[in-house]
């Protein structure tokens, strides 16, 4: 079934309103929580009076950070570095608020209405402190400190080099430099965050229902905060999860507070984030400022790239994954002998940074791909040709970039065919024809431009993911995964993979996800990693279960396993369809058994298999985008006239779903390129806190796309797959910005800051 566009099993319930998301669970009598959040970007809590709030009828309790001493433990960063100046991030900080929206107290009441009424009765005395609301402000001389213990506000400063970049820059025939500012937006899953928890009195377990991308990570941290073993916490992610996109893979303060209070009260408690909270308190991916310099020869061949970038880490380091990915994504599809890439991550008084679809890659691609166009412009060359002479060639894989990956191994691309991808996209785009049409439009006085953008994406990251398969009493096979779906269609995709591994029709296979009691270890759905890791684990476990089923059948049918095959739900002797056993019969013997009766000799009971797949290193997906845009010089409006996406994610399990991932990622990239900007004022006050101010693209903003696929299997996993979840997003800001600058070239106008808003276009034209 691998490679078949199988319709999704999930769709029927979702189309009929029968899906089950967190807030749909039946939790009779459940209390509801509401959080008091800091209205200041930087403040010290001098006093908090909760007396009136506690007295409100229906209020069960009110707790400040100082009341919950057990929770004054730092949430560790997800990805760290020995050089990181880490500062503790507490679920409910007892004294200092570091960003607007940081939770400082919690009310639990019999209804959300009452809990929110009580919030208004809490009296807080704040000492407002100076705030930092940009990387520039953070790094300015004599800037106030976001955290007293980190003077200068630098969270981490890391440099990676390959070759001898300084000498190469000094001797390069041509040099260009530019500063690019890339604002990134939030995840904006249509379902916000949320968590519910209860204590199961029968087992003593704290049962937690979060809408998370990472159930086991959530379980482990709740166990840490509640000071219990991980087996005393059971995380069950509702089977329908309304999107993730990165922030739901993080652990936020509320994720510790709600289970802790459910245990304290011995009563179910839930908190569903509302959208206004989501805008200020859910982590987002934030701005980077890139200073890029390139050295190249007369043919546009890259000799050296130097990129020094500031990264806004927000108020705390929830993890360094985003900037370290930026650090290693820079070289992209190009052979670059000398590289200097340098990260300065700083603390600011804004919500912490998490991965958001693309996770640090779109920023790196902006730095690299925009300079490729500048090189072409400088030489009077064609941007497609400048890329062509620099591409890593198909016979150079595995290709060592010269940098180090975040796991410490040499950064190595496993497979791909960048030249073929490049030409396939240009063909589909009719590049020469588009250039002719561009010239014709320019002759009519229209501002039309063409942009290209290429990228690589390290995906399918470790450490591992698991799958557990079991033959059930009704003869069906259950596939249990640790990773949770966020809309990708796991119930369909993993049944397809298991079907091929087992040699059994998909209709005998069911997929279950998201319950830590069903599979003990897991990482989660993020970093375009799950098909590689959980997919390979599913295939391995399925193949092993097939062997084990046939081993039992061999004994019962008195033949050899080599003579057996599956026919529908039966194991039969090859060529003798009447001579066989149903899977139900095999399950009856090997799994159910008869009370006190010895098994037939040679039958190994317990037909279940578990497999964990740990990739040796990241598999590299790649892609190239091409766009034609038209700019209205009066209004600054940008219209996308054509958009072609070339995408290579190796073997494709379900082409319909992969296309869906690419197109959805593309829409997210359009938001980043043209519309989305979580704006904070100089005092750190968020200014875009509703969908009236924050422009999430709708159907009229997202243009039609033409897709071109290349299939270069990865040698690093048995399926040959690579990730598909984020590639659609990654090069969109760079591609659109290149096209817009191409359109503005007659005026020499520069656009170096994303998103490309009409106001910026008009300003650039006025300045030009």
């Amino acid at each position: 079934m691998i490679g078949v566009a199988v319709p999704r099993r999930e769709d029927r319930r979702l189309l009929t309103g029968a899906g089950t998301y967190l807030d749909d669970l039946d939790l009779p009598g459940c209390y509801e929580a509401a959080f008091l959040r800091s209205p200041h970007a930087s403040a010290r809590v001098l006093a908090m009076d909760t007396t009136a709030a506690k007295a409100l009828p229906g209020v069960i309790g009110v707790w400040t950070g100082r009341d919950l001493a057990d929770l004054v433990k730092p949430i560790p960063p997800k990805v760290t570095n020995p050089k990181l100046y880490d500062v503790p991030r507490y679920p409910l900080p007892p004294e200092y608020a570091r960003f607007v929206g940081e939770p400082l107290a919690v009310v639990v009441a019999t209804s959300r209405h009452i809990a929110e009424d009580a919030l208004e009765l809490i009296d807080v005395d704040y000492e407002v402190l100076p705030a930092i609301a940009s990387t520039g402000a953070a790094l300015a001389p004599d800037a106030p400190s976001v955290h007293d213990e980190v003077p200068g506000n630098v969270a981490v400063h890391l440099t990676q080099t390959a070759g001898d970049p300084e000498t190469a820059l000094a001797t390069a025939p041509h040099r260009l430099r530019e500063r690019f500012v890339v604002a990134r937006g939030g995840g904006h899953s249509m379902e916000t965050r949320g968590i519910a928890a209860s204590v199961d009195r029968a087992t003593g377990e704290i049962v937690v229902w979060p809408c998370t991308q990472s159930p086991h990570y959530t379980r482990n941290l709740i166990a840490y905060f509640c000071d219990v073993t991980e087996d005393e916490v059971r995380v069950v992610v509702p089977r329908d999860n309304g999107g993730g996109f990165g922030p739901k893979a993080q652990f936020h303060g509320e994720d510790a507070v709600v289970p802790y209070l459910a245990r304290l009260l011995g009563h179910p408690v839930k908190w569903i984030e509302d959208r206004s909270e989501n805008f200020v308190a859910t982590m987002m991916e934030r701005t980077q400022v890139h200073d890029v310099e390139v050295g190249f020869d007369d043919d546009g061949r890259l000799l050296v790239v130097k990129n020094v970038f500031q990264h806004d880490q927000g108020a705390y380091c929830a993890g360094l994954q985003v900037p370290t990915i930026t650090l290693s994504t820079l070289p992209g599809q190009y052979r670059i002998p000398n590289i200097h890439t340098e990260l300065i991550a700083c603390y600011t008084n804004m919500v912490p940074t998490s991965s958001v679809r693309g996770a640090g890659r779109p920023q790196a691609v902006v730095a690299m791909e925009r300079m490729m166009d500048r090189i072409a412009e400088h030489l009077g060359a064609d941007p497609a040709q400048v890329r062509r002479v620099n591409l890593v060639q198909a016979d150079q894989f595995p290709y060592q970039v010269g940098l180090t990956f975040r796991d410490g191994s040499p950064l190595t691309y496993d497979s791909g065919d960048f030249p073929a991808l490049h030409e396939a996209v240009l063909d589909r785009f009719d590049y020469a024809g588009e250039r002719d049409r561009q010239r014709a439009a320019l002759a009519e006085g229209r501002l039309v431009g063409i942009g290209l953008g290429a990228y690589v994406e390290g995906c399918g990251l470790g450490p591992y993911e698991g799958a557990r398969l079991r033959l059930r009493r009704d003869g069906t096979v259950l596939v249990t995964l640790a990773a949770t779906p966020l809309g990708q269609g796991y119930e369909t995709v993993y049944a397809q993979i298991a079907a091929d591994g087992l040699g059994l029709d998909m209709r005998h296979i069911t997929v279950a996800t998201g319950d830590t009691a069903s599979i003990p270890f897991g990482q989660g759905s993020f970093a375009s990693r799950t098909t590689v890791t959980a997919g390979s684990a599913t295939l391995q476990a399925a193949r092993r279960l097939r062997e084990r089923i046939l081993d039992v059948a061999e004994v019962l049918l008195k033949t050899s396993a080599a003579n057996l095959c599956f026919v529908d739900d039966r194991v039969c002797v090859v060529g003798e369809p009447d001579h066989g056993l149903t899977l139900t019969e095999i399950a009856q013997v090997a799994n159910i058994g008869k009370h006190g009766i010895t098994l037939p000799p040679g039958v190994n009971p317990g037909l279940e298999t578990t497999s964990y797949f740990a990739p040796e290193r990241a598999a590299y997906a790649s892609g190239m985008h091409a766009a034609t845009v038209e700019v209205d010089p009066e209004t600054g409006q940008i219209r996308i006239l054509r958009y072609v996406i070339g995408h290579d994610c190796g073997t494709v399990i379900n082409p319909m779903l992969v296309d869906g991932q690419v197109l959805g990622g593309f829409a997210h990239g359009i938001g980043n390129a043209l519309y989305e900007e979580p704006h904070y004022d100089a005092a750190g006050q968020p200014q875009t806190t509703s969908y009236l101010d924050y422009a999430l693209p709708s159907a009229v903003e997202v243009p039609p796309v033409e897709l071109v696929h290349l299939y270069t299997p990865s040698p690093l996993n048995p399926l040959g797959v690579k990730g598909a979840g984020e590639g659609g997003t990654i090069p969109v800001p760079a591609t659109v910005a290149n096209a817009v600058e191409d359109a503005l070239r007659p005026f020499g106008a520069r656009i170096t800051s994303l998103p490309l808003t009409p106001a910026k276009i008009v300003a650039a034209l006025t300045a030009g």
Partner: protein, 166 residues
């Protein structure tokens, strides 16, 4: 004082939801979305933004698509409400629902009910037979997963198929 008032902040309301008459006593401040979801347990209607922009909570009030997060339950007194749970004919999906599945117009599914209800109303009003028209019809709802391509195709196909019922 309105005649349906029972207490200081509560009201007795009568609604017809998916063809069933419901007598309820509701708080003044209970939104129609919360009434449908938490009182009637019709959880197919979702709440995405609570300020009327995302459209996930779209239902039909006397046949017109409305944002149930922007209405109070008490405002539905005496009215007919239809939700996503009423779109299919028993086990048989409506042509629009079928078309959504065929064109992969949904991923996480959270926004889906709202898109179905908005599109069903538009199709009842007239044909949505071009991608451009479909994009306009769909532009009142937000989806973060699909990139809208499947939604556009699904609505156009449902229109071509003579979708009238929604």
């Amino acid at each position: 004082m309105p005649e349906n008032t029972v207490g200081e902040d509560t009201h007795r309301i009568t609604t017809t939801v998916n063809g069933v008459t419901q007598e309820s006593v509701v708080d003044s401040r209970l939104s129609l979305a919360d009434f449908l979801r938490h009182r009637l347990r019709l959880t197919g209607t979702h709440v995405g933004c609570e300020h009327g922009v995302c459209g996930a909570c779209t239902v039909h009030l006397d046949g017109a698509a409305v944002r149930s997060c922007l209405m109070f339950a008490v405002q539905a007194d005496g009215h007919t409400v239809d939700t996503v749970e009423g779109l299919a004919n028993g086990d048989e999906l409506s042509p629009l629902q079928e078309s959504f599945a065929r064109h992969h117009a949904l991923q996480c599914g959270f926004c889906t009910s709202g898109f179905l209800m908005s599109a069903a109303e538009a199709l009842r009003e007239g044909p949505v037979d071009t991608p451009e028209r479909a994009r306009e019809v769909l532009s009142g709802n937000l989806c973060r997963c699909t990139g809208y391509a499947g939604l556009v195709s699904a609505v156009v196909e449902a229109s071509d198929g003579g979708e009238g019922r929604g």
